[in-house]
């Protein structure tokens, strides 16, 4: 773990973060928060729908059309700025338990979203009404997503308190 963090810190990204003025970290941090909020805010709406909220008024397919690109953009912004924040002083986080929970949570959230988009129910939602079983299946994806991203954000915020 220490070796990995040392390597991240030594990358050119780490150097850039450390050598480009006292406001760099703050601005990259702000961008990270904007990315994470775009991701979480958009995903929260879709997850609530998957869990059954607004089920009579909004179609999953329509909601996914607008939410997916916003969520992906937010994820990419958060991921790149997050790497830069970590690279600044990576070794300072060597014993930080929140970091160790945060990364698996992100992985679960991302894999869950990927698998969701491959499911039959998710594809069929575009063309026909779903069966109860399919709706339950999608609700599970919504629940996992909400839990994973909320955990990732909570841990991210807590890193500085350790």
């Amino acid at each position: 773990m220490r070796t990995l963090l040392l390597w991240i810190e030594a990358t050119s990204l780490g150097h850039l973060m450390r050598e480009s003025g006292p406001w760099t970290y703050a601005i990259v941090n702000l961008t990270h928060v904007l990315g994470a909020s775009a991701l979480f805010g958009s995903v929260l709406v879709l997850d609530l729908r998957l869990l059954g909220v607004w089920s009579r008024r909004v179609r999953i397919a329509d909601l996914a059309t607008v939410i997916t690109p916003v969520a992906i953009a937010g994820f990419l912004v958060a991921m790149t700025t997050g790497a830069a924040l970590l690279a600044t002083k990576a070794t300072a986080y060597v014993d930080n338990p929140f970091l160790l929970i945060k990364f698996p949570a992100i992985a679960i959230g991302a894999i869950n979203a990927g698998v969701l988009n491959l499911t039959r129910a998710r594809r069929e939602a575009r063309v026909r009404a779903l069966t109860t079983r399919e709706r339950r299946q999608l609700a599970v994806f919504g629940g996992v997503s909400l839990t994973a991203w909320a955990t990732a954000i909570t841990c991210g915020r807590m890193i500085g308190y350790w």
């Binding site: 006292p22 607004w54 002083k89 807590m158």
Partner: protein, 121 residues
Amino acid sequence: MKKVATLVAAFMLSALPAFAHHGWGGNEDKISEVTGTVTTGVSLAGPHATMKIKDTQGRTWDVTMAPPARTQQAGVTEKLIPVGSTVMVHGHRNKSQNNYEIKVTKLTFNGKLYDVYPGME
């Protein structure tokens, strides 16, 4: 709709404590002063400015100062203190006695006092 709003509000409230800026809970309330030789110069990067000093007993301290812009405002720049110079730092050390980490509010170098957290003990 009301049900949804309540759900979202409850969810956000549960995350509220996370919005307060982080305190110095892991550090002592009382003031400690450490005099040492600078081994790693001031870095104005990251959430807080940092440097490392070695005290007379040979222990290396991780010195954490204010956020970079504020530290610079107090006159502490990356070029101010050469490695090998003697400084005295004033602040709150880590509660764990075998963790040589100190969050400093003031720093003395070359006979001059730098107040990196004005108004704070």
